[in-house]
Symmetry: C2
Subunit: 439 residues, 2 copies
């Protein structure tokens, strides 16, 4: 039995989960893997806050450097979050020859390239299974399971808060603001929900999957990111009538001339696996040229699921350390190799993508308006699959006109919308949502 010493920096929710797993599943982990994970030290700035687990006093410190400088510690688990002090800890640990496990998607999205380069130089591992999809084993699958494939596309529901809000809006016909308040009260959304509902968290995760799948280091600010604040019960209801649900998707597609990447709400057809991912669940739908369509589903956040991923990384690294105790500094076989395809596979602008669209116009209810709208679309080469025009029986006033298009260039769509807005009574109501036909 080889014993591997762990230093845990950050004993908040996920950190408490890690401590809990290492206690309660100690025996099964040792039996299954042949390694003992010994939690040697824990650093937290607030040792006295209320936690679901008791912290062993003698292992506790408020100074993370103590762990980073402790020669007996093999693996540092970083659960501080953010991109500043967490970066210092991670870089410091790697520079001191320690393996690192982190759940920090923001850190890897912004500084992954330099961190992995440093780890590779130092011959240490960086485990980051917990950074995407909580306990869902998507990182290992991207690194190993799909390694034989040319990845064609990724469609991820990777933010539990947004998916929870959209699910509630769909089930109950409620407004975004009302559901957000409810989600905040229930602990499904943060006091400042921006990272979640504005798509930033999902974009962090997407950029990690793009690194693994395509070998591309995206300039994070260049990813097209839309959140769900603009989604209305009206659009959810029309989408339902048309056989679709609205989901916040993180999407990457491989094209001959580059990579499309974006986070945005999209219509997905009911009855498909992705459409059925409800509440706070996550799922990542990956299509490879050999494996075909696959999907991994589970709880994308939370204390225990995220801790499950953190500990699985620690176990894997510990097994490697155990196997090569006599060859230190050589256990670097599962460090992702970041072949850099960034130059040869540029990020494609959203305006150069081709999609099917759900469009909703707020139009005066008088003869000829529908004709004018479809005329604008037609002139830009956008062909229409179906139209819903409701509320004529109410007589007069504005009515919503919903149009589903066939595949069209986004550039052309935006140009057509500019034109329709010139004659619509309330152009602020014009809405377009992309349609993703996944399996």
């Amino acid at each position: 039995m080889s014993v591997v010493n762990i230093g845990l920096i950050g004993a908040g929710t996920v950190g408490s989960g890690v401590i809990k797993i290492l206690n309660q599943n100690k025996d099964i982990i040792e039996k299954r893997t042949g390694v003992r994970l010994n939690l040697k030290k824990i650093a937290d700035t607030d040792p006295d806050r209320k936690r679901p687990v008791r912290l062993p006093k003698k292992k506790l410190t408020t100074d993370a450097r103590e762990l980073i400088e402790d020669d007996s510690i093999d693996i540092i688990i970083e659960l501080v979050g953010g991109t500043k002090i967490a970066k210092d800890f991670v870089v410091g640990a790697i520079e001191n020859g320690k393996h690192v496990v982190t759940a920090n998607k923001a850190l890897l999205a912004h500084h992954g390239k330099s961190i992995f380069a440093l780890a590779s130089k130092m011959g240490v591992e960086v485990g980051f299974e917990a950074s995407v999809g909580g306990g869902i084993p998507i990182i290992k699958s991207a690194q190993v399971g799909y390694a034989a494939n040319n990845i064609l596309s990724i469609h991820g529901i990777m933010n539990g808060t947004s998916n929870y809000i959209l699910s509630k809006m769909t089930d109950e016909g409620s407004d975004f603001d009302d559901v957000l308040k409810l989600a905040q009260a229930e602990g499904y959304a943060e006091a400042d929900p921006s990272f979640d509902v504005d798509g930033i968290d999902a974009a962090h995760k997407l950029s990690i999957l793009i690194m693994l799948s395509f070998g591309i280091f995206l300039d994070f600010g260049k990813i097209h990111v839309e959140g769900i604040r603009g989604i209305t019960p009206l659009d959810i209801s029309f989408a339902g009538e048309l056989g679709y649900k609205i989901k916040l998707l993180a999407i990457a597609k491989s094209r001959a001339d580059g990579i499309e990447a974006g986070v945005y709400p999209a219509l997905v057809r009911m009855g498909t696996q992705l459409a059925d991912v409800s509440d706070a669940f996550n799922a990542i739908y990956v299509v490879g040229d050999a494996v075909g369509p696959t999907m991994l589903y589970g709880m994308g956040a939370g204390m225990m699921p995220t801790a499950s991923a953190v500990v699985s990384d620690a176990i894997q690294i510990a097994k490697e350390i155990g196997s090569y105790k006599n060859s230190p500094g050589k256990a670097n076989n599962s460090i992702p190799r970041f072949y850099d395809n960034t130059k040869s596979r540029p990020l494609i602008k959203m305006s150069d993508t081709t999609n099917k669209y759900y469009l909703r116009f707020q139009a005066e209810d008088r003869p000829g308006v529908l004709g004018k709208i479809t005329g604008c679309l037609g002139r830009k080469g956008i062909s229409i699959e179906s139209v819903i025009q409701k509320g004529r029986h109410l007589g007069g006033g504005d009515v919503p006109v919903v149009i589903m298009t066939h595949e069209a260039r986004e550039k052309d769509l935006l140009s057509a919308i500019k034109e329709t807005n010139s004659f619509l009574s309330d152009k602020s109501k014009t809405t377009f949502i992309r349609i993703e036909e996944v399996q």
Copy 2:
């Protein structure tokens, strides 16, 4: 770039897929992993049969021993199938210090224990991602992704042929025999479909997942296995009315006193992820104490998906060989450690399990029959959730009586059925199907 030499034994459908991937995705694999997989030799008893790829003549032999005895070959890929000659090849390769990759579930279900023990002794790897769920990365997930968890249950749709047949029966209301013939004509079922439709293939796969998840080596003959030949359109239709689909599930559940394991058709609630796994797709739903419910979904068979899994194993082993070229015989860190829990966690008899049941009786349409049936159930302590009795308006003759029970011991259920059969007009029609409430 480290070059690793591969010997491929068996160039049938999946073998052809492996050759195709190694050709077409050579560059991406090398970039992504830093290893070159060199297909050095191919053995097949029938080199001239029609294949979707061309076999390079000079690499070809009809004698698999040539590969096993070739000192320059690092990894043997065994795609012969069956448990006899394939076993000789696998054992021979391991004894010669070669790593092995296999898709052979029957071999591992029957001889896994001795094969893994030998591999462990020889310090070589055995990769078997392709043995369960085709290209779905379930094996690596069970070995690594869920390693921190105490696994609570597994529910797998792991036989594509059966799932295809049940999906068609559900969509079209057709009989088993008719759909089977269609499936055979379309290539979804073998001429002898027994392995697939009688649950044996799914049981092979289940026993592999049980090894990984619970550390239990099942005596294969003791797993409870039922196939789908007895499923009728009538039961599918009643199940649908009650909000369920019928799926062939491979199930393992952890109990304090042991492990439940079985392959049988079961009712799963519509709108859940498992119920929506249609056609030839596979999915494995795993619940861990930390990670919670997870599901992995994809194509469970076929040339390219299975080859994707085979090549992913070869890549992983090759990366390890590459990292430790100078320490031969040490690269055994990912060999599953088969802690043997078999004695402490016995297989529980089906009669000692507790389930909810769908029951269908063929009863004479006269007053009192329903009362007699429910009386039998009541005396055995089986309580009823709902009843459907159809066809009374036809007057006279036999009618189906469908009963959904609450949780009951299978022993009690069988005893109640014995009693009802004593007074039913056609006891051969009495049907019971377990209900699995998954998420």
